[in-house]
Symmetry: C2
Subunit: 468 residues, 2 copies
Amino acid sequence: MRRSKSSKWNNLLSKKDLINKIKEDVLSEIKPSEEDIILVRRIAEDVKERILEKAKDLNLNISVILVGSAARNTWILNGKRRDIDLFILFPTTVDEKFIEEKGIDLIERAMEGWVLEQRYAEHPYVRASIDKEVDGEKMRFDIDIVPCFDVKDPSHIISAVDRTPHHNIYVMKRINGKEGEVILLKKFLELLGIYGSDNKTKGFSGYLCELLIIKYGSFEDLLLDAADWRPPLYIDLEGIGCYDKKDPLVFIDPVDPNRNVAAALSYNNLCIFIDASREFLKNPSKSYFKKREIVVKTYEELKNFFINRETYILAINLRLPDFAEDIIYPQLERSKDGIKRGFEDNAFKILNSYIYYTRNEAIIIFEFEVWKLPKITKHFGPNVFDKDAADRFKEINKDYKIFIKDCRYVVERERKFSSPKDFLEKNILKCALGKDIRHIIEDKEYHLLGIEELLSKNYIRQFLSEIY
Amino acid sequence: MRRSKSSKWNNLLSKKDLINKIKEDVLSEIKPSEEDIILVRRIAEDVKERILEKAKDLNLNISVILVGSAARNTWILNGKRRDIDLFILFPTTVDEKFIEEKGIDLIERAMEGWVLEQRYAEHPYVRASIDKEVDGEKMRFDIDIVPCFDVKDPSHIISAVDRTPHHNIYVMKRINGKEGEVILLKKFLELLGIYGSDNKTKGFSGYLCELLIIKYGSFEDLLLDAADWRPPLYIDLEGIGCYDKKDPLVFIDPVDPNRNVAAALSYNNLCIFIDASREFLKNPSKSYFKKREIVVKTYEELKNFFINRETYILAINLRLPDFAEDIIYPQLERSKDGIKRGFEDNAFKILNSYIYYTRNEAIIIFEFEVWKLPKITKHFGPNVFDKDAADRFKEINKDYKIFIKDCRYVVERERKFSSPKDFLEKNILKCALGKDIRHIIEDKEYHLLGIEELLSKNYIRQFLSEIY
């Protein structure tokens, strides 16, 4: 039986004050200030006007809206950078080609003099950047300007981005006064490494955070419920859901009953959130909102660490062409898993494996549990009473001594690969790999790293220091 | 569809002559000679008379019969030793205590002046031995004299030995002229290491060999059928069977429908026989009846052999009290399997394991596939959403860093055992062991052998030379 919210709080009443104090303290540090909000609004307004004006010149029937966390004041501070999302709404009477060409053209004309970069999601859009002095400090503003269709019913969108203006309307109506709760939740998730719905993070999107706060009212009420979650979970704010895939958390998009806002969230990350919810409520602390200080270990420290563990390390260093992270990261994961399977099919056993990733380089690191094996291996053949198979097996293995064990023919043969390195050198292309990773390996744009070479890279020492 | 016997022979007709020649040649070497048979009969007759005479003195109402292969001329030559089985039949009006006491007393009085040794099966019996000069050569005769009940219906026996006289009658009536076939079959099985129904061999008993020849008529007709066998098999000469256990080969005892003559035969040994049958028919050769010359490898040769295999050897040397082989051998097997399981539960992996056994010593030898492991091991806990179990796991592992992996809590902890030797030293008594082996180990009547100590024993070099 589900306990009621108030009875759940009974055990935590004594902590209520502590939690409120923590929230207040943390928010005072991470919440955008009034000045910040006004500045972001002013810049957004400025860009909006430029676009509207140019549209008039070009005789384009559009409107422009500010969307995303900048519109709702729910962004988390990101150093000296502010992200702003502006959407240009075109009538559905034009076609996709039209908005792709005219939309980009419009933006480029309107934003003359800014640093512009064309980017691609389902459609092209433009990132316009500008540096401004704020209180004597240099601040960078990145404004994503996205053309989309002005679709009335978001369950019948033309392009994925067409949903965004509807999300904006939905959240704007309900989030007033709860912005701080959203910001706390985002920060909490960020420090757990599970904020973001990209293919690498597989966590909670900003929109999902807003919806969760709308649903539960406050950060701590969400955590209180999450502490008891048992996936799979199903949340449907509007009671309209018709989503039938089996995700660990289904949160029906209130503007599109066919869509799960939490589709990108992995099972494991949901578990990390559930566990952290319990831990925070057990022991509320500001540390949940502060980046843990990582002391980067030295070469010697890490080397000794692995010597003491008595494990074996082998890594694959890949040079990456200029791929979008969302494209290449899943391929890196697939390749890591495929190579791991290859190792394990040959009796080498993996204890841990990791992907280090930056724009032009990836390193897949394997830590082995079993890496030293005899030169010979038992090769089991057919059952003795399977006469035809027996004849074939004997013919193939005529150079070996054939034993009968557990009613099967068996020979001891040389092992195919004498070490993990030997396996990689001879067989990496026989593993299941992501398509582009396969090309990179075919083109020999990779090399193998032993423990010494791996630890000689300072960013890897940083990466490993964060894990161990 | 089963091919008929004649059509099966079609493909082998060309080999019929060769097989007959081989049989003739082999039999001329291994079949007991006329003189041999007469001598055995004379000695058996002599012992029989001694017993009958003494029984008259003691007023015992018994009869004495010669049974076993000596009665049927189906024994295989065993160097300068001849085995003779004599059974003393008591009426069922007396009880077991009577035959145990009076039977042994009778034998001891009758055989005064012989070397006597009291032995135990289900009941005590006596082995009487005598050395005789035969053609100027010393020959040893071992006569097992077994008291039993003269049971009319062998499916209602009092003691297991009571069946033997009935076996004798059944075989004697049918084996005439086929003795050579039985002898060939026994020799063939002996060289495969599967002749004998004792707990170590788990092969074909002499009686089973005789019944198989009665069923199939000749050695080669048996092999021809066996080449196509697919266990489980069921043979019932008299159509009387009511045996319902699932053995690989069921051969209903023609004198006892409840008994499987082949109950001791292991699945693997049946497979060895099936395979050898095919191989012999494919390529008939006298070599199947001749002991393979084993060249015993030197210490250096064997040492290098294992160095080249890159395996690791560890053995347990046990001092054995004076146990009957049939009692202790199954315990050695159980212990070997139990220790193997113990190793594998701790991630050490066994490639091969063997038991070397003689009367007062046993050595269990393990050859490892995985023996080197990291100091740490992953220890998986409960699912994250199993809240109570999670709390317990965290309490137990509070000194370790806890990760969440595949939605479960996991810690990396020190491995319990750092090497196979370490495991044996600390944990051998926690393994499933045979009862008496456990006592031997508790009493510290054992020690561990590494490869050097093991290979320093010449009988082990012989043993291993036969395997590899």
